[in-house]
């Protein structure tokens, strides 16, 4: 009797053991099978960018070369490291031309999401384009890293579209930082308090001007000239002559290319040389030093970099090698940093789970060419808003608290004709 009991017991135990082993084996096999099925072949990343139309210049300067560089480098390493599958998955790019039209951008992004079924969408260039596609990205749950977007309504938009992130601050922040830097110079006795300001009669120019206008008085400055010029103006001599006659200490132009270049050329020819000469978008683009050579020194503009940073210098070199032309010293590095952030967010999450990625973007800290940054406020906050060309490089001069900030050279050295 005992024998059969013992046998039954041991038989039971054997059976249980066999069952356990079998169950374990099946589970492992199933897990393997499941993982092998789920790992995507590629991570599809799409974007609509302005290859033609008025935005094409800006996109070519700040967006496209960075997107291409980023994708190239990821794939050179084998792809994005998706820890959920334990392997690297290469990136596939799907790109469209939005022809600088909001309607085309909207359609293209819809196409990317519903037809091409991309995993992530990168931003188009420009405030108008980004705002046009923002609702669609929001509706479909895609995180929206809005590179090259500048709008004072960013805080309100963040509430409306919780998955959106901004990288250039706002016009108010930029104007504030610039005025603070100017106030420091004034208090040190280097300049007076007269500002002459012009702006392109376009959304960005007007917004920046409005911001300056609102804060100038409280920071102790007087606007002796305040006007807007229409897009397409090809001769700034009348405006500059008028401004010259008011002998301003500071000249601020909230401008876009090509105006930024045209007006600087004319300022140089007529030797209009206020103590501070500050122009807008385009000042930091490679064509600016390309055109003016030595004459760039002393010109201030939006943007700036911690030039000494080895990470940044390495990025500049890689950009030059990949695109064939230099990165712009304002938006390019912000775009690239944003792409680095995106990559790290994806890899931290370990798979393509857009909700998790968005959450990671909001909560993580990331190592970028700008140093260690976070997007907790859904806005990039560690960036220079005012830079100055010194010794052939565009150094950040404001805010002066950021690492790598240099003291501005004021007054601006004379133009060499």
């Amino acid at each position: 009797m005992i024998d059969s009991q013992q046998t039954e017991g041991s038989q039971n135990m054997s059976r249980r053991f066999i069952r356990a082993v079998a169950a374990g084996a099946i589970a492992t096999l199933a897990a393997f099978a499941a993982t092998a099925e789920e790992a995507p072949e590629k991570v599809r990343i799409g974007y609509a960018i302005s290859k033609t139309g008025p935005n094409a210049g800006g996109a070519a300067a700040s967006s496209t070369p960075n997107y291409e560089l980023w994708a190239k480098e990821i794939n050179a390493e084998g792809g994005l490291m998706l820890s959920a599958y334990g392997k690297r998955v290469p990136v596939e790019i799907v790109e469209y031309d939005d022809r600088s039209s909001s309607e085309e951008a909207v359609k293209a992004v819809e196409r990317l999401i519903t037809q091409d079924e991309v995993d992530l969408v990168l931003a188009p260039w420009g405030t108008g384009m980004n705002l046009a596609v923002a609702p669609i990205l929001h509706k479909n749950g895609y995180p929206h890293l809005a590179f090259n977007t500048l709008t004072d309504r960013a805080p309100e938009l963040i509430e409306r579209w919780p998955g959106i992130f901004f990288f250039e601050g706002t016009s108010t922040i930029i104007a504030g930082a610039t005025l603070d830097m100017l106030a420091q110079q004034r208090d040190a006795g280097k300049i007076g308090n007269k500002i002459a300001m012009i702006a392109i009669a376009d959304a960005l120019g007007i917004e920046l001007s409005a911001a300056y206008r609102e804060m100038a008085a409280e920071k102790g400055f007087e606007l002796v000239y305040d006007a807007a010029y229409p897009a397409g103006t090809q001769d700034f001599t009348p405006i500059l002559t008028e401004i010259s006659s008011k002998s301003p200490d500071v000249f601020i132009a909230n401008s876009y290319p090509p105006d930024t270049l045209t007006m600087t050329e004319q300022a140089r020819v007529m030797s209009f040389n206020p103590a501070v000469y500050l122009t807008g978008i385009g000042t930091a683009m490679p064509m600016f030093p390309g055109q003016f050579g030595e004459n760039v020194d002393g010109v201030m503009g939006i943007g700036g970099s911690d030039v000494a940073s080895p990470a940044l210098q390495d990025y500049f070199k890689r950009h030059q090698d990949s695109a064939g032309y230099p990165a712009d010293r304002f938006a390019s590095q912000l775009t690239y940093a944003g792409l680095e952030i995106l990559q790290q967010a994806i890899e931290n999450v370990g798979k393509i789970d857009r909700a998790a990625i968005t959450e990671e973007l909001k909560t993580g800290t990331f190592r970028t060419v700008l140093g260690e940054v976070s997007l907790a406020s859904q806005m990039l906050e560690t960036l220079f808003y005012v830079g100055q060309w010194q010794d052939g490089e565009f150094y950040g001069v404001g805010p002066s608290s950021l690492p790598g900030a240099r003291a501005p050279v004021v007054p601006k050295p004379a133009w060499k004709n």
């Binding site: 359609k107 196409r111 108008g128 705002l131 046009a132 669609i136 009669a201 960005l204």
Partner: protein, 321 residues
């Protein structure tokens, strides 16, 4: 006439059957977007042909009216209920058309074309200046909760309306007056037709449709500033689509819109880097090889493409009347 009417009736029935069925056919938001594109251009091309077809004044002002409609939404969208906004867009389009028409319909042919081409730019400058100096706004944000489906249906209704208006004009005295003006403006004036009034009326009606189209489309872009609203490319695209289909018939423009919009979409998707070259080549092919438009080439009656040199017919140029 009867056979044509029957053909027209069948066409319109089929067309609207397709239009009504599309949103339920299980496509994605992208497909609906294409549908919206098709409807948008169908309305504008038909409206364009309402004026430019019979009078033979080639107008490149489509973009201006589209833009003013879009801008109306940008300004008033937050303050008025939606139907009121559309009405205002329509009225502004009418008013602008009357203003522009009074100023320019005295211009002879090519001057009118070029002026209408520059109109978009001029309005953009004025609106820009107004926004900078008077209202002190940089750009306007449209946060209306209008879905894609709603935009689609509004455009479909607008298309039905413009076709109805076109059909009604064709049968009315206004239509007869128009045809006479198109044939020979001098004779028309002598017969007692107030040519200016007739041309103005048509121009205003046509432009009003374009403004409302712009207004309906505006919520799709969220962010509007003058350079986004006023785009001259629309003027050319509408013109070429209408001509391709045949501007002298009511359904001609639609016949031009459908293949061209689909082709543009196809090229955009598959040849993003060569889109300009390809679309330019297609435009040129149309001009060189299909000048009478599809319907014109098919129908036995050839519209007046070849003119005896001294006739006052065909697109207005040369000696002013």
């Amino acid at each position: 006439m009867k056979r044509n009417e029957l053909a027209g009736g069948i066409f319109v029935t089929l067309l609207f059957a397709v239009i009504l069925a599309t949103p339920f056919a299980g496509g994605s938001s992208y497909h609906l977007s294409i549908g919206i594109s098709l409807l948008q251009y169908a309305v504008m091309a038909t409206a364009w042909a309402l004026f430019s077809g019979p009078t033979r004044y080639v107008s490149l002002a489509t973009g201006s009216f589209f833009g003013i409609g879009a801008y109306t939404v940008a300004v008033l969208g937050d303050f008025l209920p939606w139907p009121a906004v559309l009405c205002v867009a329509l009225l502004i389009g009418l008013a602008l058309a009357l203003l522009v028409g009074l100023a320019t319909l005295r211009l002879s042919g090519v001057y009118f074309v070029i002026f209408s081409f520059g109109l978009s730019e001029m309005i953009r400058q004025l609106v820009s200046w107004y926004e900078v100096n008077i209202t002190k706004t940089s750009a306007r944000y449209i946060f209306l909760d209008i879905t894609q489906q709603q935009i689609y249906w509004q455009l479909a209704a607008l298309l039905a309306l413009v076709l109805a208006v076109g059909w009604w004009i064709g049968r009315s005295r206004l239509g007869t007056a128009l045809r006479l003006i198109g044939e020979d403006e001098v004779v028309a004036a002598h017969v007692g037709i107030d040519t200016t009034r007739v041309k103005l009326a048509l121009f205003a009606i046509s432009s009003a449709f374009m403004s409302v189209t712009g207004a309906i489309m505006a919520p799709r872009w969220t962010y509007i500033d003058p350079s986004i609203a006023f785009n001259a490319n629309i003027s050319f695209q509408v013109l070429i689509m209408a001509l391709f289909g045949g501007a002298s018939r009511l359904f001609g423009p639609i016949a031009g819109v459908i293949p061209l919009v689909l082709m543009i979409e196809y090229l955009s998707t598959n040849f993003p880097n060569h889109f300009s070259i390809l679309i330019g080549a297609i435009f040129m092919i149309i001009v060189y090889f299909i000048p009478d438009g599809i319907l014109g080439t098919i129908s036995a009656r050839r519209p007046r493409a070849s003119q005896p040199p001294l006739a006052a017919k065909a697109p207005r140029t040369g000696a002013a009347s």
